[in-house]
Symmetry: C2
Subunit: 572 residues, 2 copies
């Protein structure tokens, strides 16, 4: 390895980490770098329609392509600030995303002229200061003697902590030559090693607690199992110990849902009574990768006393009231498996009502597509190799009741909940899906949410991606109606010609596409049973007409609690 | 005036300031407040498709409805961060916009639970910290004894300084009762009074300088004339003194362009030679409201030595090298008019090549719609009551060569230059136009820029607004091609079915709409001459097919300089 330009050093590192797509928009401060991307043998430039959508795409790409990262490239000021909500979402939801910003040259950074895209007052650091709130590391590649180290550090932090990092690349640095020596040693995602003595102590302690309760333990898996890459460790633990397992909304799909010891979703008071009783009556609950946000916990309605709770996290462990800093689950879990596997004979006999028995279905016979009908029905449509993307709104709650086939990947934004995310995210997910051996990408998005980011359908068509997009058309912001303002005009949205969208964006392109509208159960059934539809060999959009005031049960209950918490007072 | 709720107090203040529309999206943290907006007798809620577009709309509204302000309402985290680029743009370009954010309740602010739309780590202040970079004042309405004062201060600062302010309104504060007493005294936009003695000194000094040069003065009007509301004072000054006047790109349309003493656009080395010579050879240049950004000055290529330059600003004055702090132009100008009007006999004889003589036109006879043909041609189409909105790209440069009819209002983002802005902005402008006695709103937007914010056409149709939208379809990011990467793929954009957009968004609504595509000069001429088209009694979209590598001359030259400044090095 001889000398290499700064731009190509960065690309080399990204390629090593498995990055094949970079998302974003050009702007004059990043054009020089984009030359290198366009010419790169294994990394492709994906031009998005706007920067927020690009950030969402990078987020979706990273979620599906686990153990890699997403990259979004923007231009100084206007581009980067447009992406900010997407980056903050990646922070909140713990998704590794590199935000690379093309910036004015290093000499302009010194003289700070009133360039386009500046605030007019010479504050060239304003965007970095703002970004600091939403990224775990900020670095400016301004000195060629430091950039290799800076890049390595930033990328390592990004993938290890599963959080976005912010990097500015001045125009004149792109082609500076540096040594490529460091590239010989690949970067890795390494969970910190636990202090052996503390770890031993913790293992003893947990073992003791499990013994005390005679093995009456329930496992609760959550978001950080996926984010911190301990899915294999968790599944091995479950298999060897035989404990019953439940999942939170954000943990859904990290344990196979056909697994016979899997009891479904635990979400506090919103939980199905059978599952709720089973979780809350266990003598000990071991939660793995827990993330206790309002929508992930039935509005903080867990009924799990601390003295019955053990929490395994990426960087700490809690056993009842005791905190063990820096004892992370990645290395702890395999050892815990060893310690606890002898409970298998007892643990594997503990009763679990299988998730599949709990699924609600609509008993009425009319043809309206209500949620209680829709979700079980699409559940039958899913395949093991599907990537499912659900949007905030009725979709995020509806999917909870559907048992997913083994291997299915589900992504959603239960904590951050920025509507429109799912569309950009589905674009990124669709690229990643091809690379990780997944097949179809199926998106469920409310028509209100689709309006925020609709243009991102355009690159889907351009690149021949073939998602199936279900647009839930329920005459407005239904989730909001349940929270407040049931009949308010501010909860209406324009009723677009949804089935014209693919043609409007893609009609001049070479790719095939097809749109459908279904408003009866029979129409939905017929479509889902059609093998050419299920084959997903072109991009397809399905408008699903549903009632404005119908929602999954879990949403109705969450919405009520959220509305109360907001204390809007009397006016409705 | 008795007691009033916090929400209604704010609305009462906004109504007093002439606000009739509020832009934004609902979110559960602002729904309670939106009830009040929906029920308000004179303020309407305009639901946008996304928050960035909403911020752009508020910006466009404020620009056209001078002496009022724009308001954008978003929800905590996800909504407000989406709007951030729009708010930063309003800061940079000096547009008074209130960013009102619905936030969690005051009690949640104390306990900081992991609510949806939070970062998951309890940092409830992160969004405010970020906003601080892009707003001139941040205020949280958390204490009912202070809110009236806070609201008054924030709004006064917003309109006086012509910058965005940031205000958070917790859910539970909306209906708190406070005294309405203060509402009796209206808020005003008051430029600070100048210290009389300093002002006198400055007037003497300027007078002396003008005398020294025998009245050989040229006036240069710029952005801040519009932003700080001194258009009347400037025009009066020009009329009484008779000095020749030129404008920068950002000052365009603040002086009537048919005015016989108006010589056109001064933009450094890019200026038409006749105008350039006239400005740069004047013995004294008085610039009013100057904003010297790269694109506003031909890349800082002014040839105006400081010793021949007097600058009048909103909050200071410079006479050659001498700075006079806190001497603002609003109060200085009328006095300067008095002092200098006796130069009229000389000043009014100073030669000016009228702007209308300098307009370039295409001499070739082929039918291709090139910029040199397009802009003079649409120039003939304009009316005095038009509001013209131009987007960053070829449009922002093309419009410079067109003499606008008296009274025409032009808005664009020459400094901030965030593409997509013009579409949201045109929505806001269209509402405001109706209220300030303007008639048509005519938007010129590149197809690349339109892709960022296209959905904002939807509310235009919903509310029966009737803009004429010219979409310049030149196969990609032409401005970027001129800066760097002429034939690069990253400068391509998808070729949508532009003429299907209105139907896709509006086909289910009650409003009429019509789309056209023109690719020859004859087609363009025919359309522009059609009186039903010019009447603009429905929303209309015109796809104008233009060559990928054609641009207004000023853009070609600016792009070359920008490319050089960026020092991309060799790869093309
Ligand atoms: C960026 C952003 N803006 C606003 C909101 C507030 N919000 C949450 S859900 C929702 C409505 C979603 O409506 P739709 O997509 O139609 O879903 P439905 O519940 O009707 O199925 C809104 C406006 C948000 N979460 N994110
Ligand atoms: C939000 C944002 N993203 C990216 C850019 C960089 N940029 C400036 S102009 C431009 C291309 C505009 O293309 P188009 O609207 O088609 O205009 P034209 O082809 O007429 O020049 C781009 C990408 C920007 N200014 N703002
Ligand atoms: Mg909906
Ligand atoms: Mg273009």
């Amino acid at each position: 390895v001889g000398n290499i330009t700064v731009g190509n050093y960065l690309l080399a590192r990204l390629a090593q980490l498995g990055v094949t797509k970079m998302f974003g928009l050009p702007g004059d401060f990043n054009l020089g770098f984009l030359d290198l991307v366009e010419d790169h043998p294994t990394i492709d430039w994906v031009g998005n329609c706007n920067e927020l959508n690009a950030a969402y795409a990078a987020d979706g790409y990273a979620r599906v392509k686990q153990n890699s990262l997403g990259v979004v490239t923007t231009t100084f000021g206007v581009g980067e600030l447009s992406a900010m909500n997407g980056i903050a979402g990646a922070f909140s939801e713990m998704v590794p995303v590199l935000h690379l910003v093309g910036a004015p040259s290093t000499s302009q950074h010194k003289t700070r002229p009133i360039l386009h895209h500046t605030l007019g007052d010479g504050r060239y650091d304003a965007y970095t200061i703002a970004s600091k709130q939403f990224t775990i590391l900020q670095t400016a590649l301004v000195n060629k003697h430091e950039v290799a180290h800076q890049i390595d550090e930033a990328l390592t932090v990004c993938i290890t902590k599963a959080r976005p990092v912010y990097m500015t690349l001045p125009t004149d640095m792109v082609h500076q030559e540096i040594s490529g020596e460091r590239l010989k040693i690949p970067l890795t995602r390494q969970a910190a090693i636990n202090d052996p003595q503390t770890e031993e102590f913790v293992l003893d302690l947990i073992h003791e607690r499990v013994k005390e309760v005679g093995g009456d333990v329930v496992i609760l898996v959550d978001a950080c199992v996926i984010r911190f890459d301990v899915q294999d460790e968790v599944n091995e633990f479950l298999k060897q110990t035989g404990f019953p397992v439940y999942s939170t909304p954000m943990g859904k799909s990290c344990v196979n849902e056909s697994y016979k010891r899997y009891g479904g979703i635990y979400i506090g008071t919103i939980t199905h009574p059978l599952a709720k009783e089973r979780v809350e009556n266990a003598k000990l609950i071991i939660s793995v990768g827990s993330l206790q946000s309002d929508f992930n916990t039935g509005n903080f309605s867990y009924n799990i006393p601390i003295r019955r709770h053990i929490e395994l996290h990426s960087d700490h462990t809690k056993v009842q009231y005791a905190l063990f800093k820096d004892i992370g689950m990645k290395h702890l879990l395999p050892k815990l498996t060893e310690r606890l596997q002898h409970f298998y004979p007892i643990a594997s006999k503990l009763p679990v009502a299988p998730f599949t028995d709990l699924v609600p279905t609509s008993q009425e016979n009319d043809q309206t597509i209500v949620h209680a009908y829709f979700w079980p029905r699409v559940g039958q449509f899913f395949h093991p190799k599907d990537v499912i993307v659900t949007e905030t709104g009725t979709a995020n709650f509806g999917i909870l009741d559907v048992p997913l086939p083994d291997g299915t990947k589900l992504i959603s934004q239960v904590l951050w909940g920025s509507i429109g995310w799912s569309v950009g995210s589905a674009l990124g997910a669709a690229f990643a899906a091809r690379e990780v051996g997944k097949d179809r990408v199926i998106l469920f998005v409310g028509e209100g949410s689709l309006q925020l980011t609709v243009q991102e359908i355009s690159p889907m068509i351009r690149y021949g991606l073939k998602p199936i997009i279900f647009v839930i058309n329920n005459s407005g912001y239904t989730i909001e109606r349940y929270i407040h303002g049931k009949h308010r005009k501010y909860n209406n949205v324009d009723n677009w010609k949804w089935t014209s969208l693919l043609d409007t964006f893609g009609g001049n392109m070479e790719q095939p596409y097809e749109s459908y509208s279904v408003k009866t159960r029979a129409e939905l059934d017929t479509l889902l049973d059609q093998s050419s539809f299920a084959a997903a060999n072109k991009i397809q959009l399905v408008e699903v007409i549903m009632p404005a005031l119908d929602a999954p049960l879990a949403l109705e209950r969450q919405a009520e609690m959220t509305g109360k918490g907001n204390q809007y007072a009397t006016v409705i």
